[in-house]
């Protein structure tokens, strides 16, 4: 793997300063600060993401791993986030972790930060600047997993409705691609309709209710998370039998799944989504880079998949209105990075712990 300027500079710096080989926990980052630049704080997923960042960073500060942290939120505006990143650059933070407002609009300031020998890690909503480390979800894979599960459950034959996310985003585009690719192997599966639910239950409900009268019998619904509950409500209101709906780790979706499964006749499905706790992975990735560890330029994070045997445990852990997520530890992040470097399977997701 070709290593970028940042890593070279970062590694050279820490080696020069510490003069010790980079082994886990050996190179001290005790005097360093890691800042988070977040593009938007206005929804449940992001709130939980910030909470997870707070937990990870506070724990690290308490243990003396890093010295300080700071969180700045932009109002979903790329220019505003760009100037905030500029400010962080001037304030001498050793690493800046970014959930980006735009895949491209921050590249200029990110490059500036890299030139100032600052470690930049982007996660969740990525920026494409080549000098930044990326903590990424494979959303195409999410679509593939859904398609394969549905095809298997339906025996390779049946009508499927697709509920998509916000039009024009890369996440929506990738999940959709995975679904189409996945179903391509099963000629008996027909995608009979598609609506944009925008990852929001109320919008999904409205959109699905709008398209239902035009559809034949729907056997399954593939979703993107945050839209499963609304989809169910729309089917119920139309007096249609409940199809197989893929869930998206939201508390209301898991509670619905539990209710349907406990009813006579039962209900089988599975649930998957990105986890807001990915901010804690990004935090530890930044810390590991500062510590001089060998870190892949792109760290692929497995999606959080909940099967029925884990349903009760996750349902207990997620607060009402929240999204299921583990808090990823430094050790888990190290195992994930090792797996990424060795191209082996990622470690299994940490078990749910109840949220504080």
């Amino acid at each position: 793997m070709k290593l970028g300027k940042c890593l070279v500079v970062g590694a050279a710096l820490s080696l020069a300063l510490m003069g010790s080989p980079a082994r886990a926990g050996d190179t001290s980052t005790a005097k360093d600060g890691i800042a988070l630049s977040n593009s938007y704080a206005g929804n449940g997923w992001r709130q939980q993401m910030l909470k997870m960042w707070g937990l990870a960073s506070k724990d690290a500060i308490k243990r003396g791993v890093i010295a300080r942290t700071k969180v700045v939120n932009a109002d979903n505006s790329a220019p505003q986030q760009a100037s905030q990143i500029g400010d962080l650059t001037l304030q001498g933070w050793k690493a800046i972790v970014i959930d980006a407002a735009s895949p491209t609009a921050l590249n200029g300031v990110i490059q500036q930060a890299c030139s100032a020998h600052i470690v930049v890690v982007v996660f969740d909503s990525l920026a494409t600047a080549p000098c930044a480390y990326k903590v990424a979800y494979n959303y195409v894979n999410m679509g593939l997993m859904e398609a394969n599960y549905v095809a298997k459950r339906l025996g390779g034959k049946g009508n499927v409705l697709e509920v998509r996310g916000i039009a024009g985003t890369s996440v929506d585009h990738d999940i959709h691609r995975g679904i189409v690719e996945g179903f391509a192997k099963y000629p008996g599966i027909k995608l009979v309709g598609s609506v944009h639910g925008n990852w929001t239950q109320s919008i999904a409900q409205k959109e699905v209710a709008g398209i239902l009268p035009t559809l034949p019998k729907v056997a399954a619904v593939v979703t993107q998370g945050g839209d499963g509950y609304g989809t169910y409500e729309a089917f119920k209101a139309a007096g249609r039998p409940t199809p197989l709906i893929i869930m998206g780790n939201r508390q209301d979706e898991l509670a619905l799944w539990k209710k349907l499964a406990s009813a006579p006749g039962g209900y089988r499905t599975f649930s998957l989504s990105s986890a807001p706790g990915v901010s804690s992975i990004a935090f530890w990735v930044a810390q590991r880079i500062l510590a001089g560890a060998k870190v892949p330029k792109t760290v692929n994070v497995p999606l959080l998949v909940i099967m029925s045997k884990d349903l009760d445990a996750w349902l207990k852990a997620v607060p009402p209105g929240g999204v299921s997520t583990p808090l990823y530890s430094q050790q888990w992040t190290e195992r994930l990075m090792a797996a990424n470097l060795a191209h082996t399977a990622p470690p299994p997701s940490p078990v749910p712990t109840s949220m504080p």
């Binding site: 100037s83 400010d87 491209t104 609009a105």
Partner: protein
């Protein structure tokens, strides 16, 4: 309207005490924000000395160019007593065109940008001829700009022609580009609007339309000229934004509507028309731009940023009212 303002409008007619009062009012109008800017910069430099370097200033003032040109566009409209609620989405539209058409079909792209300037002039004519409230027309136009931007570029991406980012990454010797451009723009604007005879006429359209009409000038042409100036400044602001972002995004300019209005008012402009200064507007744009950085350097949560920007506006207007009251 107080006597000193009248004098400032029709230069040469008033004399004696009125003119001295006008000079004082004009000096205060720019002096107050200038002093505020000096204080802000001093605090920032004291908190973070490395901001004082060439690199530091470049980072700190990264998004100055779109901000000052957007403020200048807003100033041209406020000068005539109108207000432009569509400049933010207009910047987004220019951004989207610059990241697509301008790169793939340059001639077509330039034509589109020219058409946008013409559309602004047309908007001015429409407002004048039909006596429509500018707030309604520009708000309506803002949705047109947003719709067009989404048509041109449905999802973020695209790439501008190579010369555009290079132009805005240019590092002139000694003085960083944002500082240099601000000084040049303020000087040019100040000269055109305050020291040429047609500049006096243009400001007069906002302050004393009847006097200007009686003197034989076309109010329609004047308003169209100012709106065209606003459109041209908006195009430059959008190009600057594209140069810095190196990509297109149909929602990227939204915040510039409010910050540009705030910049004009903080910089000494008034909504009544005719009372604006290009120098003050540039200073106002800097103040709005640095407000967020100042909070960040003082370690105050960014959640306060919008409130503080609003607070600055209220304090400035309050101080100005006090000053007027003591002068009367």
């Amino acid at each position: 309207m107080p006597a000193d303002v009248t004098a400032e409008m029709a230069a040469g007619i008033a004399a004696g005490a009125g003119e001295r009062g006008a000079r004082r009012a004009a000096a205060l109008r720019v002096g107050l924000p200038a002093a505020a800017l000096v204080v802000m910069l001093s605090v920032i430099f004291a908190m973070q000395p490395r901001a004082m370097s060439y690199f530091g200033l470049s980072v700190l003032l990264n998004f100055t160019l779109p901000a000052i040109f957007a403020a200048m566009a807003q100033m041209a409209v406020i000068a005539v007593g109108d207000i432009d609620l569509g400049i933010g989405p207009f910047l987004s539209l220019v951004n989207c065109i610059a990241a697509t058409l301008l790169a793939t079909r340059p001639l077509f792209g330039w034509l589109a940008l020219a058409a946008l300037v013409a559309a602004y002039a047309g908007m001015g004519a429409l407002i004048h001829v039909r006596r429509l409230p500018s707030i309604v027309v520009t708000l309506g136009a803002s949705f047109v700009w947003l719709g067009l931007a989404l048509l041109v570029l449905p999802s973020p991406g695209g790439a501008p022609p190579g010369w555009l980012p290079a132009l805005f990454a240019w590092q002139p010797p000694f003085v960083p580009l944002p500082v240099l451009a601000s000084i040049l723009l303020a000087a040019l604007g100040q000269f055109l609007l305050m020291h040429t005879s047609y500049g006096v006429v243009l400001r007069g359209i906002g302050g004393h339309p009847r006097a200007i009409a009686r003197a034989g000038w076309s109010l329609l042409a004047g308003r169209m000229a100012l709106y065209a100036l606003a459109g041209a400044s908006g195009v430059i602001a959008g190009l600057a934004l594209t140069g810095l972002n190196t990509a297109g995004d149909a929602t990227v300019g939204a915040q510039y509507t409010l910050t540009s209005i705030a910049a004009v008012i903080v910089g000494g402009g008034e909504f009544v028309g005719g009372i604006v200064t290009p120098l003050g507007t540039v200073i106002g744009a800097w103040i709005m731009l640095l407000a967020g950085s100042l909070l960040s350097f003082l370690n105050i949560s960014t959640d306060w940023q919008l409130s503080v920007q609003g607070g600055i506006l209220i304090v400035v207007l309050g101080l100005r009212a006090l000053n007027r009251w003591s002068a009367a």
